[in-house]
């Protein structure tokens, strides 16, 4: 893999890639499919190139947290399944899965993408909790962007289940036509820095060659809601500025793909 990494860096210096793409192009196809799981309240399968990620949304009723008695909540969990790559093993989530889940979580949480107050049913007693599970089917690189897109698609497709008016129990077999209070469409885009050259949507080989990366979650008006610098490399303020510009532009592109699908 070392030789490959050097080749990738050399090519990047000439604005080239092993698969002939421009440094700032996503792989094709970008495919979005929703309602791929009838047991979930919302679900989506997203494919970027050969990377495939599934996201499922479950809703449950619970007591609100003490410090936010009039709000529901969200949880994001990610599983890098051993089915999706020879590099993953069965067992509890490792740091890579934890980072993925937390970065995607912050992107939607801090953008206030979901109006948590509207998830409250009875202050201090009952509120909806949104549990988002990201499951990898094929990790061919760039899980952050694929997972972010899958989560947003699944949230958009989610419908509340029917609640029994007498017992208060959820009938998961029946869905209402009420969608989640999704007020913003924050999407994470990760920009990779290979020897000063910026690249998006890396393959697995390219992910092994990077010095540093910056994930930036931004919504439709360009407001940034979460960032994560990754890798052992360092960034200059100029690098950061360029990376943010690129990620906001690309988030707009991904949002367009999503909205074309939901039209």
């Amino acid at each position: 893999m070392k030789v490959n990494s050097e080749t990738i860096a050399l090519l990047a210096a000439q604005n080239k890639r092993l698969d002939q793409r421009a440094l700032t192009d996503y792989r094709q196809p970008i495919k979005i499919e929703t309602n791929i799981s009838w047991t979930a309240e919302g679900s989506a399968k997203v494919q970027i190139g050969e990377t495939i990620v599934i996201c499922g949304v479950k809703l449950s009723l619970d007591k609100p947290y003490n410090d936010t008695p009039d709000e529901g909540g969200i949880t994001v969990n990610a599983e890098l399944t051993p089915l999706s790559s020879p590099n993953y093993e069965p067992g509890p989530p490792g740091i890579k899965a934890v980072e993925l889940a937390r970065v995607v979580d912050r992107g939607i949480r801090e953008a206030k993408a979901l109006d948590l107050k509207k998830l409250c049913v009875k202050p201090g007693e009952k509120a909806w909790f949104v549990i988002i599970d990201i499951i990898t089917l094929n990790d061919a690189g760039n899980l952050f962007d694929a997972a972010g897109l899958a989560v947003l698609a699944a949230l958009k497709s989610a419908r509340f289940p029917v609640v029994n008016a007498v017992t208060g129990a959820i009938d998961y077999k029946k869905k209402t036509d009420v969608a989640l209070p999704l007020v913003k469409e924050a999407l994470p885009v990760t920009v990779y820095n290979i020897k000063g050259h910026l690249m998006i949507d890396p393959t697995v080989a390219e992910e092994e060659a990077y010095d540093s990366r910056l994930t930036v979650a931004s919504d439709a008006d360009g407001t940034i809601s979460a960032m994560q610098k990754g890798g052992v490399g360092v960034l200059s303020t100029d690098d950061i500025s360029r990376m943010i510009d690129l990620s906001i532009t690309k988030a707009k592109f991904l949002r367009q793909q999503l909205n074309l699908f939901f039209k």
Binding site: A40, E41, P90
Partner: protein
């Protein structure tokens, strides 16, 4: 005998609509998608590859391992906590037992062949769908096999022997129900998975096994079709 008409209008020996595809996960050495009704299984095969920890290796032949997992949102009720359960451990074990008779790993001493199963949505019959998917994926991976394994859940609902129970039939409350997952080896018609829970007479059970011959044959035809489709494309 009061279960005369099935909830979803199927004939007693009729399976739910099925779909199968080979080669759906490019990272894997072999893979498959298998859908029966609302139950969906993805299977990926990795290997033969070196086995760790080393003490698990078999110097005489390769080891077959299965890992069955339901995605957290794939159950019919609340979210399922991720991570293994006793149920998934047992299913993983009976999967190995059902596939091992047709898989020949004698050429791969000390190696392991891993089969990973993930289910995004379920409506009963998940271990059968998992086995049918795994069999396609193993063949897709080019693992030496003597035969294919095809699996369907048979059952007896209130006196009527039926093929491919769905969740509503498993949960039938007005009479005794039995759920009998069966896997059959195609050419020899030998049975490599047999479990049963519920209530049934020996007579009805033998009828159910008889009906499984026809039911698994339908699964087999689809498995072969999926493999032919993939390899005729290449």
């Amino acid at each position: 005998m009061t279960y005369k008409k099935r909830f979803d209008g199927r004939k007693f020996d009729e399976l739910r609509p099925m779909e199968a595809k080979a080669g759906v996960i490019s990272n894997a050495n072999g893979s498959a998608y298998f859908q029966i009704g609302n139950t969906v299984a993805y299977a990926a095969v990795y290997g033969p590859r070196e086995m760790f920890p080393r003490f698990l290796q078999n110097p005489k032949k390769g080891v077959l391992r299965c890992y069955y997992n339901m995605m957290p949102f794939s159950g019919s009720g609340e979210r399922i906590r991720p991570g293994g359960s006793r149920r998934s451990q047992e299913i993983s074990m009976v999967m190995v037992n059902s596939l091992e008779p047709v898989v020949d790993l004698s050429a791969f001493p000390n190696a392991v062949v891993d089969v990973f199963i993930e289910l995004p949505q379920t409506d009963a019959g998940t271990r059968c769908a998992a086995i049918s998917a795994a069999s396609i994926a193993l063949a897709d991976a080019g693992i030496p096999m003597k035969d294919m394994v095809s699996s369907v859940a048979m059952g007896c609902v209130d006196g009527s022997v039926v093929a491919d129970l769905n969740y509503n039939e498993e949960a039938y409350e007005d009479g005794p129900v039995s759920d009998i997952p069966i896997a059959m080896i195609h050419n020899t018609k030998e049975i490599s998975l047999l479990q049963m829970d519920g209530e049934i007479s020996k007579d009805k059970l033998m009828q159910a096994i008889e009906m499984a011959n026809v039911a698994t044959e339908k699964v087999y035809q689809l498995q072969i079709k999926a493999l032919k489709e993939k390899f005729s494309q290449e």
